[in-house]
C-alpha cells in the first residue's frame, strides 16, 4: 500500500498550526500545499467554474499542486455561503481530473459537530479516542487564539524597523507550533508578548479598519498584501476576521451583533455580513479614520451588505472603500486606490484638527 500523505488548502499562516494537529491525530505524514503563487491561481481558474468565487479557485489550485507533490488525503472546511458547497464540487472536479485521493469534509451542510469530526478522524485512524481528539482540539484552539492575539497587536503597531515584527512572528510560530503542553504554550506566548512590546514603534498617522469576506481578509496573496501596503503609509490596522473569530467569537457574539445592527439589518444575510455591519458601527465608535471592505468579485453576502454600509458611511460620516478581487495579476489598481484613500483620510484628519 502506498504512503498516505495529508494536505489542505492555505489560508494565511494557519497551516503551521493545522499541520501538527493533523499529524498528532492521524499519525500520518502531513505536507503543506506549495505556497500560493500565480501558478496556483492559474491552475485554479482553469479547472473551476468561471463564476465561482475567488477562494474556490485558490483552493482548487492548492489541491492540484498538493496532489502533484504526492498528497492523497485532502481536507476541506465549509461555511454559511457558497463556501458550504465547496467540498462536494471540488471533490468532483479533482476526481474528474483522474487524481486518486480521499476527501474529507469537516463541516457538512453548513454545520459541524464533535461527533462528525470524531467520526471523520476515526475513519482515517481507528486508534483515535474521544479524549485524544478533545485534547488536540483544545491545543490547536489555544495556539490559534494566542497567535491571533499577537497578530492583532502587530497590525496595530508601526515598527521603526519594518522587518523586526516579521522575524519575530515566524520565530513565535516556530516555537509555538509543535508544543504539546498548555503551560509551555502559555509560557511561549508570554515570552513573545514581551518581545513584541519591546519593539520600538512610531505613532500611526491613521487608523483604518479592515472588514469583508473571510478569505480576502486572511490570505494576503489574494489582496496583493493589502495590509503591508497600508503599513507603508504608517497606518494602524484593525481586522476582526481571524480563525479564532470564526471558530469561537462568532458564536458568542451572534445575538449581540444582530441586536446592535437592528436599525440597518433585520435578518442574517449569510456568512459574515451581519458582523461587517456591526464592525462598521463599532469602528466608527472607536474613532477609526476609515474602513476598507474587501471581497472576492461576486461574493453574494458581501455584495448584499454594500448598500447598507454605504448608508452607514453617509449617515455616520465615515469613509468606506470597497475593493473587489478576482484573478487579475496586476496590483497597480490596488496601489492607486490605497494611496488615494490614505491621501483623502489624511486631508480629512488635518481639516478636523484645524477646526479644533
Amino acid at each position: 500500500m502506498k504512503n498516505k500523505i495529508i494536505s489542505f488548502p492555505h489560508i494565511g499562516d494557519y497551516c503551521y498550526f493545522v499541520k501538527p494537529f493533523l499529524e498528532n491525530l492521524t499519525s500520518l505524514n502531513v505536507k503543506f500545499a506549495p505556497p500560493i503563487t500565480k501558478k496556483t491561481i492559474e491552475l485554479g481558474s482553469k479547472y473551476s467554474p468561471d463564476t465561482i468565487c475567488l477562494p474556490f479557485k485558490y483552493n482548487v489550485g492548492n489541491y492540484i499542486e498538493a496532489l502533484e507533490e504526492g498528497a492523497n488525503i485532502l481536507f476541506q472546511f465549509g461555511g454559511g455561503c457558497r463556501y458550504g458547497n465547496y467540498a462536494p464540487l471540488q471533490k468532483k472536479i479533482l476526481k474528474d481530473l483522474n487524481y486518486d485521493f480521499e476527501f474529507y469534509e469537516l463541516i457538512k451542510n453548513g454545520k459541524t459537530s464533535f461527533s462528525h469530526i470524531y467520526k471523520t478522524f476515526k475513519s482515517i485512524n481507528p486508534e483515535i479516542t474521544k479524549s485524544k481528539l478533545i485534547k488536540e482540539l483544545i491545543l490547536v484552539f489555544i495556539k490559534i487564539m494566542l497567535y491571533d492575539h499577537l497578530e492583532h497587536y502587530r497590525r496595530k503597531k508601526i515598527p521603526i524597523e519594518p522587518e523586526k515584527f516579521k522575524k519575530l512572528k515566524y520565530k513565535f510560530i516556530n516555537n509555538l507550533k509543535s508544543q504539546k503542553n498548555i503551560f509551555r504554550i502559555l509560557k511561549t506566548y508570554f515570552i513573545y508578548r514581551k518581545k513584541y512590546k519591546k519593539v520600538r514603534c512610531k505613532k500611526p498617522k491613521l487608523k483604518i479598519g479592515l472588514i469583508g469576506e473571510l478569505y480576502t481578509s486572511m490570505e494576503p496573496f489574494s489582496t496583493f498584501d493589502l495590509e503591508e501596503e497600508l503599513k507603508k503609509y504608517d497606518v494602524s490596522i484593525k481586522r476582526y476576521t481571524t480563525v479564532s473569530y470564526l471558530l469561537i467569537y462568532k458564536k458568542i457574539f451572534n445575538k449581540i451583533a444582530k441586536y446592535k445592527v437592528r436599525n440597518y439589518l433585520k435578518y442574517h444575510i449569510g456568512a459574515d455580513a451581519t458582523y461587517n455591519v456591526y464592525r462598521t458601527l463599532k469602528l466608527k465608535e472607536k474613532g477609526y479614520d476609515g474602513i476598507i471592505h474587501t471581497k472576492p468579485f461576486g461574493c453574494t453576502p458581501e455584495v448584499g451588505v454594500i448598500p447598507i454600509l454605504s448608508k452607514i458611511s453617509n449617515e455616520k460620516n465615515i469613509p468606506i472603500m470597497f475593493l473587489s478581487f478576482d484573478t487579475e495579476t496586476s496590483n497597480t489598481g490596488i496601489k492607486t486606490r490605497v494611496e488615494a484613500f490614505v491621501d483623502m483620510l489624511m486631508m480629512r484628519k488635518e481639516k478636523k484638527s484645524e477646526k479644533k
Binding site: P35, T37, K38, S310, P319, S324, E328, A340
Partner: protein
C-alpha cells in the same frame, strides 16, 4: 539674470498625455496635450520638446510632478519630486480653479471616478473596478463601428430628438444592443445620443452608486469634451454641469501644484537626449514568475519593480 520659478506637471494617461507648466501663482504658462499611443517614454519626450519651446525665457522649471497610470515610470525618468495618484491630483487641480466645487465627475480613457468634496477637502471618492464599462475607450470603439469620428460624436448627439435606449449595464451588452437597434432601423443620431446616455447611466449606476451628488458639479476627463455626454448628464442629474476648456489638464495642474511643496531641483530638459529603455522579464526564482520591469538610462538600470519578494530584487 535671476529667473522665476516654474513647476512642471505631467499626467500620463492610458489614452492621452498632458503636460502643464505653472508659475508660483498657479497660472498656466504652457500646456500640451498629445496621444500616448501605448508608448509613454517617447510620448513624454515629445511632450517635453514642445513644452521646452513654449515656456517663456525668464522661467526655470524647479520641480516636477507626475500622475496618471504611467506616473511611476515617467516619475523615475524625469526625476520627479512627487509621484501622486490621479484622484488626489485631480481634486487639487480642480480646487485651484473652482473653490466651491462639491462633486467632480471624471471619465477618462480607461477609468472613471467620482470625487466628493466638502469645504475644500476630498471626503469620499469611488473609482470603477475591474471593467472599463462606460469610459472613453468604449465610446471611441463604438464610434469606429458607426463610422463616425469620435470628435463629432457630441455634435451629432445633440441633434437627436428621441435618443435610443441602450443597455447600460455592461459594454458587451451595450454593444450587442446597439447593433440590434441599428439593424431594426433606428437613426444614427438617435443611437449616438443613446450611447451618450448609456455612458451616463452606467456611470451613475456603478461608479456614483450611493454617493450624494451635490452641485456645483465639475465634469472632466477626455469624455467631458463630448457635448453629448455633458447634455446627457444635465438631463439625468437635473443639475448644471460645469466643464472647463482646461478640464483635461486638471490632473497635470494638480500634481504641478503639489510639486511646489516638495524639494526643488533644477529640471534639465536635456533628458530628451538621454536614451531610456524599459525591459520586462519574468523572474524564474520561484513558481510565481513575477513580471519585473527594469528601466535603463543609457544601458544602466536605474530602477526596477514588479517583484513580490526580495528574491526578484535587482537593485
Amino acid at each position: 539674470m535671476k529667473k522665476n520659478k516654474a513647476y512642471l506637471g505631467i499626467d500620463i494617461g492610458s489614452i492621452s498625455t498632458k503636460g502643464v507648466i505653472i508659475d508660483e501663482k498657479n497660472n498656466i504658462l504652457a500646456s500640451e496635450y498629445i496621444w500616448t499611443k501605448a508608448d509613454p517614454i517617447n510620448t513624454v519626450k515629445k511632450l517635453l520638446k514642445t513644452l521646452k519651446n513654449k515656456i517663456p525665457k525668464e522661467y526655470n522649471v524647479v520641480a516636477v510632478g507626475t500622475t496618471g497610470s504611467a506616473r511611476k515610470l515617467i516619475g523615475i525618468m524625469t526625476r520627479a519630486s512627487i509621484i501622486k495618484n490621479e484622484i488626489t491630483a485631480h481634486a487639487i487641480g480642480t480646487l485651484s480653479k473652482y473653490k466651491d466645487v462639491k462633486t467632480i465627475f471624471e471619465i477618462g480613457g480607461q477609468d472613471s471616478k467620482i470625487i466628493l468634496i466638502e469645504n475644500g477637502i476630498v471626503t469620499d471618492y469611488a473609482m470603477n473596478t475591474i471593467c472599463a464599462a462606460g469610459t472613453g475607450s468604449f465610446l471611441s470603439s463604438q464610434a469606429k463601428r458607426l463610422g463616425v469620428d469620435v470628435k463629432d460624436f457630441g455634435k451629432i448627439a445633440i441633434n437627436s430628438k428621441n435618443p435610443t435606449k441602450i443597455a447600460a449595464r455592461c459594454t458587451v451588452f451595450a454593444e450587442s444592443d446597439l447593433v440590434h437597434k441599428a439593424q431594426i432601423g433606428h437613426k444614427k443620431e438617435d443611437i449616438i445620443a443613446g450611447l451618450c446616455e448609456s455612458v451616463v447611466n452606467n456611470y451613475l449606476n456603478n461608479v456614483a452608486k450611493g454617493k450624494k451628488i451635490k452641485p456645483p458639479i465639475v465634469f472632466q476627463g477626455g469624455v467631458s469634451k463630448n457635448i453629448g455626454v455633458v447634455k446627457a448628464f444635465e438631463k439625468i442629474t437635473k443639475e448644471k454641469i460645469i466643464t472647463d476648456k482646461n478640464g483635461h489638464l486638471m490632473g497635470a495642474l494638480g500634481v504641478a501644484i503639489l510639486s511646489k511643496k516638495e524639494k526643488e531641483e533644477l529640471f534639465d530638459f536635456d533628458i530628451l537626449n538621454l536614451n531610456f529603455e524599459t525591459k520586462g522579464y519574468e523572474c524564474k526564482k520561484c513558481p510565481n514568475h513575477c513580471e519585473i520591469i527594469a528601466i535603463k538610462k543609457d544601458k544602466q538600470i536605474i530602477d526596477a519593480w514588479g517583484n513580490r519578494c526580495e528574491k526578484g530584487a535587482l537593485i
